[in-house]
């Protein structure tokens, strides 16, 4: 009932969710039920790749919510993504137990390597899934809340906000590169074995993670769509278009921004948490400036302020990346750079805008 209500006027969303449902079911069946020798078999590698794209898509939806509807170009979302990923990575590290290279049941390998004798306090509790899951939500959420509370209250907007979110991400990257921080430094967290007792290398676990990503994406999409359709969503767009005016008709602009920004950061964190078990590693490179800006381009390519455009953009660009880096590795950065320029100069409404225009002319 609520579902129908949310998607009533959202034809793009209806199509997207239908495609997502069909793809997820088909891929799962083709992987599990069809024998490997068959042409119709979908390899586990492909499933994991698709699962990774879905987490990126969720991240892109989160970015679109704040950029497309609220006008905040956040370059901090890769940080929220990575923090969610680290929280999950810490859980997975603790699950390794004594199966590490050093066979130390109490300490992850890298700590043994650094001659540490005790688990740092901030690792406590990460051997329990519920605690890690809570941290996946809380750590990015609280960081976004504190940062947003400071920034929006003093009316830091536009490019200034972009620059300081970028600085935040950069500071976190430098911090996570330090061995002393206790997050594995340069190498990050890796060599995971299992999650909730399921072997991470098993096909069924891969499928499970893939389906979980699809569900998270669908729920994230619906939540964002609900916000966007609500009066709060209209206030957000009002803030994007005329912030002062919104303030003068009595809305606490800082509060609206703060809550939406925090929610978006939480979504990014969840995306990161689903990303890590599928790719099997999390390292400080996820905080890099390139990442934080690249994911904005996914949204730009798909089309801002549409939500499903973000999904489309994330998958299209990442498919391109997978293809290029395998086939023509030297050309990928040229292609990405050109994409940045072309989209902003020639295609400000993205692919969705292009499709809509075509529809309108027919």
């Amino acid at each position: 009932m609520i579902l129908i209500d949310i998607l009533k006027k959202d034809r793009g969303g209806q199509i997207f969710l239908a495609v997502l449902l069909v793809t997820t079911v088909t891929v799962a069946c083709l992987n599990l039920a069809v024998p490997e020798s068959s042409v119709w078999h979908v390899s586990t590698y492909t499933v994991t790749l698709l699962g990774k794209y879905l987490t990126y898509a969720l991240l892109a939806v989160a970015v679109d919510l704040v950029w497309g509807y609220l006008g905040i170009l956040s370059l901090g979302h890769s940080a929220f993504f990575a923090l969610g990923g680290y929280a999950m990575g810490m859980y997975l590290m603790r699950q390794i137990g004594d199966r590490g290279v050093y066979g130390n049941a109490n300490l992850p390998d890298f700590m043994v390597f650094l001659n540490w004798h005790e688990l740092p306090w901030f690792w406590y509790g990460f051997d329990m899934f519920w605690f890690a899951a809570l941290m996946v939500v809380l750590v990015p959420g609280i960081l976004a809340f504190i940062f947003g509370w400071l920034a929006f209250r003093s009316q830091v907007t536009g490019v200034y906000l972009s620059i300081i979110t970028q600085a935040l991400t950069y500071a976190l990257m430098l911090a996570f590169f330090r061995n002393e921080m206790g997050f594995g430094g340069n190498n990050g967290l890796t060599d995971f074995k299992d999650i909730l007792g399921f072997d991470l290398q098993a096909d069924s676990t891969r499928i499970g993670l893939f389906v979980a990503s699809a569900i998270a994406l669908a729920l994230g999409y619906l939540a964002c769509r609900y916000i966007v359709n609500s009066r709060l969503g209209r206030v957000a767009v009002a803030i994007r278009d005329a912030e002062d005016r919104t303030r003068f008709i009595g809305y606490r602009v800082d509060h609206v921004k703060l809550w939406i920004f925090t929610f978006s950061a939480v979504l990014a964190g969840v995306a990161g948490a689903l990303y890590v078990p599928q790719v099997g590693i999390i390292n400080p490179g996820e905080f890099s400036p390139l990442n934080s800006i690249e994911l904005v381009v996914w949204v730009a390519v798909g089309g801002r302020a549409t939500l499903y455009g973000a999904v489309l953009g994330a998958i299209a660009v990442n498919y391109g990346k997978t293809y290029f880096t395998a086939a023509l590795p030297d050309l990928w950065l040229f292609a990405l750079g050109a994409l940045f320029i072309l989209v902003t100069v020639l295609l400000p409404r993205g692919i969705v805008g292009l499709l809509r225009r075509r529809e309108a002319t027919q």
Partner: protein, 555 residues
């Protein structure tokens, strides 16, 4: 030499004359020839040494000691050419003709050189030479005599090194030796060092009153040997008057050392700050004046650094001049690229600053990748001209390296030049007009498109110039720009967008803050703390240190 004479009671005025004579000789000759070689052309000198050299070849240590005394007494700087290798046990004589040579083992054979002028004399088997052996008594005497000879060397640097050597080795008769020389010493810094040495010597030999006077004199010295000696003294002498005086002097000295360390930190900070200012100042124009977020700014800096590299490749014989050529060349290269970016992309994005951020980031990726494919994905070597190396020694605890000094001067010069361009030229007037009110400026006949292109070119050109400076400090590679872009934005935002002075103050103060934090928390954490500080600062004062005020800014 003089010590020896004094000790043996001989007074020979011509020795002094000879010393003077050497000074003159040195002035004339050293400009043309290496120091040692002139003596080889002077047969008289070799003749004077000849009897002593003969004695060296005898087996008896007693006679060898005498030989050393004789060599030292000759007062000839050439004697050092024998004494030093002798101390290092590299002095041999040939069995066939008795010539004294320096021999160096090379594989199974020995490479011979002449002590007098260092000419190579070919390689021989071990059998055909014999080492001149030395014992501890000889070693002691050798050290003393070498120092003594060096003390009268015409070159003040050698004299200074000799005094330092004597002080650190706590040579016997230190005070006495130096007292005999200090009055004739002409070089002020050597003289001061000698006085320090004398005072140190008195600490070993003098009466209590003399010692206390010496300590109070030493409390003005920053020489590390003085500090060591005083520390030892304050430990040994305990609560006696001398111990107290030593501790008091130490406190004074440590205060001064701390002061100079602060100065050094400030200097490091200012030089880092100057780098930041250089990197950010072009951005202050494109961001502050035009409102364009140029994420490719770092890559324009990189292009400047690569221009320096290419210029050095083109004129390898004139590295000293290469930077002077590179500055205008880098300005033109980066400026031209900047103009292309502006006309090709940014022109379509005015009023949409977030989009310029994305588009120029795309440009930065492309520029990086071009450098990777065309030149090399690895770092390239950029040479430092000789005038950039070395340092300005202010005193024994404070030395300022020339490359840092030049960076500070250079960035100030660039700042002033830019300031003048904006204040005094027609382009500057146009820039300020367009930045304040585009429509009005256009109505007044300012060609805003042209002004935009020129402004962006100017900002980019300065990035190129910054690249030349950075090429002298860091590795030049495709990622050079990335590491500066965030810092540069931080400087501009911290200083206040649109304020050149703000950029200067912000850059310098962030540099100093970084260097003050560094010793206690490490470089990376210092950088993180500074970033966090700026993030918090922007929350408090969103318009930076030097905000622009008024109604026009609001919209």
């Amino acid at each position: 030499m003089t010590t020896f004479l004094r000790r043996t009671g001989m007074q020979i005025p011509w020795l002094k004359l000879l010393a003077r004579h050497h000074v003159i000789w040195c002035l004339v000759v050293s400009a043309l020839l290496p120091l040692n070689s002139y003596a080889a052309d002077d047969p008289a000198a070799n003749n004077r040494l000849e009897p002593a050299l003969k004695l060296l070849k005898t087996g008896s240590f007693k006679e060898k000691l005498h030989a050393i005394e004789l060599l030292a007494a000759s007062g000839d700087p050439l004697a050092l050419n024998y004494l030093k290798p002798l101390l290092q046990a590299r002095l041999y004589y040939r069995k066939d003709n008795g010539d004294i040579v320096i021999a160096e083992r090379e594989g199974s054979q020995y490479q011979l050189t002449a002590p007098v002028d260092g000419t190579a004399l070919g390689r021989v088997k071990k059998r055909s030479i014999k080492k001149i052996t030395i014992n501890n008594a000889m070693r002691r005497l050798l050290r003393e005599k070498i120092a003594g000879l060096s003390l009268t060397n015409p070159d003040p640097k050698i004299r200074e090194a000799a005094v330092n050597e004597m002080i650190t080795s706590r040579a016997n008769g230190l005070a006495r030796t130096l007292k005999g020389l200090v009055d004739q010493e002409e070089d002020a810094s050597v003289k001061a060092l000698m006085q320090t040495g004398i005072a140190l010597g008195v600490l070993d030999t003098g009466t209590d009153e003399e010692k206390i006077a010496a300590i109070s004199q030493l409390s003005h010295s920053l020489n590390p040997a003085v500090r060591n000696r005083l520390e030892q003294l304050s430990a040994d002498a305990g609560t006696s008057k001398i111990g107290k005086a030593a501790r008091k002097a130490l406190v004074t000295i440590e205060g001064r050392v701390a002061f100079y360390n602060h100065i050094e930190t400030l200097f490091f900070g200012l030089s880092l700050g100057s780098v930041l200012v250089l990197a950010a100042i072009g951005l202050a124009i494109t961001f502050g004046v035009m409102g364009v977020i140029n994420m490719a700014h770092g890559e324009l800096i990189m292009l400047g650094a690569y221009t320096t590299y290419l210029i050095q490749q083109m004129m390898p014989a004139y590295i000293g001049w290469s930077l002077l050529v590179a500055v205008p060349a880098a300005f033109l290269v980066s400026g031209a690229v900047g103009i292309v970016i502006e006309r090709g992309i940014i022109r379509f994005l005015y009023g949409r600053p977030l989009e310029t951020l994305l588009a120029t980031f795309g440009v930065s990726l492309i520029l990086q990748q071009i450098v990777r494919t065309v030149i090399s994905p690895q770092n390239v070597p950029v040479l430092n001209p000789s005038w950039m190396s070395g340092s300005l020694q202010v005193n024994s605890v404070l030395s300022l390296t020339y490359n840092r000094l030049y960076i500070i001067v250079f960035s100030l010069a660039v700042f002033i030049a830019l300031f003048l361009v904006l204040k005094k030229t027609r382009l500057g007037l146009g820039v300020r007009a367009v930045s304040q009110n585009r429509a009005m400026a256009r109505a007044m006949g300012v060609r805003s498109g042209r002004v935009d292109a020129m402004t962006f070119g100017l900002g980019s050109g300065i990035a190129g110039v910054a690249g030349v400076a950075l090429s002298q400090l860091t590795n030049v590679g495709p990622n050079l720009g990335q590491s500066y872009i965030i810092d540069s934005f931080m400087v501009v935002v911290f200083g206040g967008v649109g304020s050149l002075l703000g950029t200067l103050v912000a850059g310098l103060s962030l540099g100093v803050a970084n260097k003050i934090l560094e010793p206690s928390v490490g470089a990376v954490l210092a950088k993180i703390l500074v970033l966090v500080f700026i993030i918090l600062f922007i929350q408090k004062r969103p318009r930076g240190l030097f905000p622009q005020k008024g109604r026009a800014v609001e919209n």
